[in-house]
């Protein structure tokens, strides 16, 4: 298979290839965080008063909160929130306001993200609608017209605020309240842009929708906000990707994703997270402190699939509130940490409705000096008769200087429910390696192969292009981990 050869070849040669910086004229707000900055961001985006009030209220809450310290993240530095630029945007060309800056076009071309429809229509890439976010603004959203014929709204968050304020107002912060946690409160105060998506009743979205987040400017943080609403009986497959330049400094990424899955709707949310993980000595890299949560009404289904290879620190728990009767949710995750990366990630499944079901499959891989923790909560409330959960968390250790941890919490208060959890920790066995070596695979290739096999259960759930990318990423990021 030429494709697998390709993967192996790139695995042995590549470094973080998305680590370049785009030279582009950008505008910034002054460094620091206070009410004036928030007013300034809000004014720049010409936001209505209610949204500014929402931001200020969140800011007031945030000032009283302290950063959570329960994560197993010893390398999470103390963040100086006054030393961050909260808004950075490529300057618009006044003469050609409709067109995309060629430098941006080039950036996304280089990243392989189709932000022009031409390429896709010519059949070069498969059909995916993309919302591309560059630092603090969305620069392009494709296939909007075609989607709007079906009543689907897919645009940047700022546009949604302008054009569909009633929807934004109705759903914003209903799943992740402004004061939910320290980073969610920060995001609610300063969020810049993100994607907004609304699928009307009974509509099956004809193509995958995706958001692509790119951090470019130095000294900034990215605070995007994504709001996805799947109305009754609709279905959607959504993908999210992200990259950032290589820098010696840590950059903060504190996003909030909210998903509302109405009655009988079905949402698949896939993430391939490829933030800059820092160099081999653990310098630099993105601090990824993200709140993602969805709510399922009666009979709804939400599936999270994530592959994480990037960011120096990951603190992320995509969660589902199974509020409606007979709703269901899945969480499939592969988290790979190498060098000095640290990840504390997992999920929460809150069973409220009757007959709710959830399934968690988490595969952690730690190599080098990294730490990889699964942290999860499965809670069954007294009213959730017939609720069912199954969790499986496997950890794979590569090398003896890394750590793999599992911290699940199960709270069950319903005698008619069943919750199961199992976890294992192991390493790649000598026998497996020997078998591959014997057949002519170098140790690194063999590890790549074994890891891909180990993660297959999750990778196979990703949409096609994502699956290929994720496989490559897993191999690349393991490079040099065998010693």
């Amino acid at each position: 298979m030429p494709q697998s050869e390709d993967i192996i070849r790139s695995a042995t040669q590549q470094e973080y290839k998305e680590g370049f910086v785009t030279e582009i004229d950008q505008e910034f707000v002054p460094k620091g965080l206070n009410e004036d900055i928030i007013r300034l961001i809000s004014a720049k985006k010409a936001e209505p008063q209610w949204l500014l009030d929402f931001r200020l209220k969140a800011f007031a809450r945030w000032k009283e909160m302290t950063p959570p310290e329960w994560g197993h993240l010893s390398r999470l530095p103390e963040i100086d929130f006054q030393d961050i630029i909260y808004y950075a945007a490529p300057r618009r060309d006044e003469d050609r306001p409709k067109e995309i800056d060629p430098a941006l076009q080039e950036t996304f071309d280089k990243l392989g993200i189709p932000i022009s429809e031409r390429e896709v229509l010519a059949g070069v890439k498969s059909k995916v609608a993309v919302d591309a976010v560059f630092d603090s603004v969305s620069v392009s959203t494709t296939f909007r017209e075609e989607l709007s014929k079906l009543g689907i709204i897919f645009c940047s968050f700022s546009e949604a605020v302008r054009e569909h304020p009633e929807l934004v107002r109705k759903y914003l912060a209903t799943v992740v309240p402004a004061g939910d946690n320290f980073y969610a409160a920060l995001n609610s105060a300063v969020f810049s842009d993100g994607s907004f998506c609304y699928i009307p009743k009974g509509v099956k979205c004809p193509m995958d929708l995706s958001s692509y987040f790119r951090i470019n400017a130095s000294g900034t943080g990215q605070f995007e906000r994504t709001l996805i609403i799947a109305d009754e009986g609709s279905s959607l497959s959504y993908m999210e990707g992200c990259t950032a330049p290589m820098r010696d400094e840590n950059q903060l990424h504190a996003a909030v994703v909210e998903i509302i899955v109405e009655k009988d709707a079905d949402v698949r949310y896939s993430t391939v997270q490829n933030w800059y993980p820092g160099d081999a000595q653990g310098r630099g890299g993105i601090l990824n402190l993200v709140t993602k949560r969805g709510i399922c009404r009666d009979g709804a289904h939400l599936s999270w699939t994530q592959v994480e290879t990037g960011s120096a620190i990951t603190w992320k728990y995509p969660s589902t509130i199974l509020q409606g009767d007979y709703s269901s949710s899945e969480f499939y995750s592969v988290a790979l940490t190498n060098n000095y990366q640290q990840a504390d990630t997992g999920t929460k499944m809150i069973h409220i409705g009757k007959g709710t079901r959830s399934r968690i499959v988490s595969k952690g891989i730690s190599a080098g000096f990294s730490e990889n923790s699964y942290r999860g909560l499965v809670q069954v409330l007294p009213g959730a008769d017939g609720a069912r959960n199954y969790s499986q968390c496997d950890s794979l250790l590569i090398g003896n200087r890394c750590g793999a941890h599992t911290f699940p919490v199960i709270r069950n208060a319903n005698p008619n429910s069943v919750v199961e959890h199992e976890a294992t920790t192991s390493k790649i066995s000598e026998d497996q390696l020997f078998y591959c070596n014997q057949r002519g695979l170098a140790p690194e290739e063999a590890v790549g192969l074994i890891v891909n096999g180990y993660a297959k259960e999750v990778l196979s759930r990703l949409p096609m292009e994502f699956a290929v990318e994720a496989q490559k990423l897993l191999s690349v990021n393991l490079e040099g981990s065998i010693g």
Partner: protein, 190 residues
């Protein structure tokens, strides 16, 4: 060691020590049960078993921490119980494997059956810093099996007895570790 004896809370296991503990929380028992065990020499073997039969507002908290500070040792924790009638049981168990504690084998299990308005919180945790290890944990919280009850009742076993039989069989692997006289005493309380 029997459950009636005073249990030392903090223990250290050395070379080829072999320790088996069975702790039984009978109905009416409320309290915290803490075990903190360090394994500091290779070749040690540890087995901790716990049984809880909690009802009538009992509150039992298990807090178990097993640290493998050197390699080549084994530990196994198994906690099982039946929780009903406003009782609340929590299990907080940690297996810690230090760096370079290779060839460690550590297992942890916690299974509960929940009857009417009982509550179970379980937190089985693994914290592992060595790679050549075999560690796993498992936890389940469930209810009595309706099908099994139906099977027994259709063969003439009264409902209450069928329930009781299922509960006894659920915890039988812990009961087997108890001396016979004590075992019968525990069974009579199910």
């Amino acid at each position: 060691m029997l459950g009636r004896d005073e249990v030392p809370r903090r223990l250290t296991l050395r070379e080829n020590d072999d320790l088996h503990i069975v702790f039984v929380a009978r109905p009416g028992y409320s309290g915290n049960v803490d075990f903190e065990i360090d394994i500091v020499r290779p070749g040690a073997n540890l087995e901790i078993a716990g049984l809880y039969l909690s009802n009538n507002g009992d509150k039992v908290n298990f807090n178990v921490c097993v640290r493998h500070l050197v390699g080549g040792s084994h530990s196994r924790q198994i906690f099982k119980g039946i929780v009903g009638d406003r009782a609340a049981v929590s299990f907080d168990g940690l297996i810690y494997v230090a760096q370079d504690a290779e060839k460690t084998e550590a297992y942890q299990e916690n299974h509960s059956i929940l009857l009417s308005d009982g509550k179970v919180d379980t937190r089985p945790q693994l914290e592992i810093y060595a790679d050549d290890v075999k560690c796993s944990h498992g936890a389940t919280v469930g209810s009595l099996d309706e099908d099994a009850l139906f099977y027994m009742r259709s063969r003439g076993i009264p409902f209450e007895e069928a329930r009781k039989m299922q509960m006894i069989s659920f915890v039988s692997d812990i009961l087997d570790r108890l001396p016979e006289s004590y075992r019968n005493d525990v069974i009579s309380r199910i």
